[in-house]
Amino acid sequence: MSTAHLLLMSLGPVQDFIAQARRTRDLWFGSHVLSELSLEAARTAQKLQAELIFPALVEGEEAAPSVPNKLLVLVRQGDPREVARAAREAARTRLRDWGMEVWYKHPQLVDAGALGTAQEQLGTLLEFHAAWCSFSPPDEYRNALSFVEAALAERKRLRPFAPWKHQRGGRHKSSLDGARESVLVEGRREGGDWSRFRIGRREELDAIGLLKRTGGKPGQFIPVPTIGLAAYTALAKETKAPAMERLRRECSRFLTPVQPGKREWVRDFPFDAQLLLPGRWSTYLEEQELEREVAERFGQDFVRPLLATLGEPFPYVACLMADGDKMGETLQTLASHGPTAHQSLSRTLSGFASEARRIIEEQHRGVLVYAGGDDVVGFVCLPDALGCAAELSRAFSAAMKRGLEGRGVKEPTLSVGLGVGHVLESLGDLLDLGRRAEQLAKGEDRNGFALLARLRSSREHAWRLRWSDGPVKAIEDTVTLREKGTLPMTKVREVYTALRRIPRHAVSPQDEARWRPVLLGEVQRVLARVEAGTPGAGLTPQQAGLDLKEDGTLEELHTQVEAWAERVFLAEMLSRATLRSRGDTRGAA
């Protein structure tokens, strides 16, 4: 029996690196950089005759839109250490060269004296870990995989670092990470690349931030406000076509349109839609070097008429994060079929990742940031978000059913989280909301959906249900309740306030016996006072969408009522995001 080596490599940092983003392009390009570094490492391993297992394909039409940061390869000949080392150096060189390319391309932005600082920042960013062992394929594959996964996880408990050596001191730190020194030149920031890349007067970028900001092409990235306001611009185009056309023509005079690609919905308004937010058009256009008066007049002449008839947009966006449940277990079980079974599953996941792009960008009004298998990150406009999440979950289940047929392996599910935040939040904060929503969706029992929203008042609302319990229908029913006007928010807040005055846990059976009826009674009393058509009739909890399990413990009741209140708060938010034309009132063209 011949022996080979199983080599597992991981590149990072991932989450922190991607989350360090202020502008849309920082986020998109940061994710692209990571994917490119993984691609470079994978290509190098292939050149050294290593065989890719996960991902099975990194290039061609069948490959996933993004290359994951973890690479599992089979080294049948040669030294696995040399393969790992070559992959690491290839990724590192790619990053360094890329960073230096943008450095020399934008002399207006950079401080020539900071070259050493920039080189150090680029040279120390990459984190690389690899583990390998020899085995006899295919029989020992499963054990070998366990060994290398364990060794890699153990090795990562120590993340060595060295102090910075090339700092000049007295410089501000990057606005993206707060740690690396800025490499931007000091002094006036006007025109040229400063406005082209929207680098603000008080903004600072390190060499990595500079790469993220300037690495792509202007117009290549869809601004998050454009995604968040996509339903609004669609409605505006449909019902106020002349006014939208005037606005569009005016924008074309001084702004570069974004490239829609296959995202047809972007054509409704291919500019940064923060222009439609009162209080933002002046700031935004001044950044584009328009006079303040001109910017203000633009708003009055071209945006105000739209707002007057359609109302102000609801400026929130959903950061969608999805992740396959118990994929580790699935891979471990499947490993008994040898590396070819993993390669086959990897191809299935690549197919799902491509499908995820289509679902998010073509079937719904959203943009995919990353899809590297069972891991999906994107942004979707709020009215489309629930449907998009459900469609992704269905597509994943279908893909897994096809991919694992006849293998005797339990098909994994997909947990999806929607983190909702203001369209002008930093991308890092929106991602954080998405990530927390995904964690909530997973819960203890996986296969879940969660909605977590942070409103401008900084209040947060969160709600979770398993896919099998129909979360989309549950929340849509609640939206309907709100839209019918049957359930006033004042009563929901009253129940919520009452809940905060009642302990969640009883300290004794007597305490439990005392507080349970209080909680039940308060909920029923408040809802009974709702004036819903018939005077004095009120609402029962069930009519309010609260299916109270009256025999539950105090803690169970507390959790149930709290989840209901959170669901209503979130339904109210979704209801506000669902647009209806108000009809012409005044000033529309």
């Binding site: 060595p160 730190k173 690396r180």
Partner: protein
């Protein structure tokens, strides 16, 4: 003549310690805060208070250079996180500790990570080629997906952990954040300036508890050295952190900083947990260790402050660095970023002569590395048996 003072700082309107990012990290102007104040912020507040008290006592105004000179001997010793029910005096049972990196929660259960020699059959490679790094012992991770832990442990949990016992609770969350929203007003129109909105996350130090258990408050316990005898210092509220939020000082006793009872006096191996972030000359690697060959493998061998004999570093559990960027109030400019080993990191040592470590309690909150005057690098000594295989 210098003197030692001990008090607890009680922020009255929350606490905000901005990290190195500027104010304008988004179009809605959201600033970001450290999750817990770094010791350097606390020392800065003490120096400022000392300078103010000097000016008040001498009725003179200090220039920035004088201020720098005359306050530089204000040194911070150990800094503790404290959490007490309202109305109680501070006592050791109110101490809260950073969660140690050798703790892991899997399947709802806490487990200790015990380092073992790397398996011969599996080789590893890191970001740099370093044989000594690859030869370090590694913790054996239990099967299952690790869950995140709460950032703080209680006194009970930590003192048990140092003895080698596993606590039942997964820890205590830190104080919650609230968000303060501010706008810039246009003087002429008396309306908010477009785009000039910013939000700051504030650590809310007072926590309301569920009915019946009252309220609790977080505080910072500290021991400091002052350049002269000053029994009334600080004599009034201090300004602490961003926007110099008002903070009261309450005297505490030396017992608040004492080692807990039951700390093992002897141990075959030594486990050092960082109670505060540490600054070492070579980043993650503690000062005093040099590359050498030990038992046929490359290793780091050397001496530790307060520890007898030569030691060999067996394992280190260290996460990514805490990047500390601070503001020089005298020069009015940003200082260079320092990369600190985060609090909670754990190092494991054996003595080269094979003898056990003794007098562990003398290492309680002892300083390690640079930045001692800033309260950096305070350690908690724990028991470790290199032969132990199961948690």
């Amino acid at each position: 003549m210098s003197t030692t003072a001990r008090f607890a700082l009680l922020p009255r309107d929350g606490l905000f310690c901005k990290d190195g990012r500027g104010w304008y990290t988004s179009d809605v102007g959201r600033s970001h805060s450290h999750p817990w104040p770094p010791p350097s912020t606390i020392r800065g507040a003490l120096r400022a208070a000392w300078g103010q008290s000097l000016m008040a006592r001498s009725s003179r105004t200090l220039s920035p250079a004088q201020w720098e000179r005359e306050t530089q001997d204000v040194a911070l010793g150990p800094v503790l996180a404290l959490l007490r029910p309202l109305g109680e005096d501070f006592a050791p049972e109110h101490r809260m500790w950073p969660v140690p990196a050798d703790a892991l929660a899997v399947d709802g259960r806490l487990q200790r990570l015990l380092p073992r020699r790397p398996t011969r059959g599996v080789a590893t490679l890191g970001t740099e080629d370093d044989a000594a790094l690859e030869a370090l012992w590694r913790p054996v991770l239990p099967p299952g997906k690790p869950r995140s832990l709460q950032p703080f442990w209680t006194e009970d949990a930590l003192s048990g952990w140092l003895r080698g016992e596993t606590p039942k609770s997964r820890g205590q969350s830190g104080p919650p954040f609230r968000v303060d929203v501010r706008v810039t007003l246009n003087i002429d129109t008396q309306t908010a300036e477009p785009g000039m909105l910013y939000q700051t996350p504030i650590l809310e130090m007072l926590c309301r508890e569920p009915l019946g258990t009252g309220a609790r408050e977080w505080a910072l316990g500290l021991e400091c050295t002052l350049p002269a005898d000053a029994p009334d210092f600080p004599g009034g509220p201090l300004g602490l952190g961003g926007k110099r939020r008002l903070t009261l000082a309450e005297r505490v006793t030396p017992a608040l900083f004492a080692a807990p009872r039951g700390l093992p006096e002897r141990s075959p191996g030594l486990r050092l947990i960082l109670a505060t972030p540490a600054q070492f000359q070579r980043g993650w690697l503690p000062d005093g260790l040099e590359r050498a060959e030990y038992q046929g493998d490359p290793a780091w061998v050397g001496t530790l402050p307060g520890v007898e004999g030569q030691v060999v570093l067996r394992a280190a559990l260290v996460n990514r660095p805490l990047e500390l960027s601070t503001w020089d109030m005298v020069q009015r400019r940003a200082r260079a970023t320092r990369r600190l080993v985060p609090a909670g990191s754990v190092y494991f040592f054996e003595r080269v002569d094979g003898r056990p470590f003794t007098a562990l309690s003398t290492l309680w909150l002892a300083p390690w590395g640079n930045g001692r005057e800033e309260g950096l690098g305070r350690v908690l000594p724990g028991h470790w048996n290199p032969e132990e295989m199961n948690t």
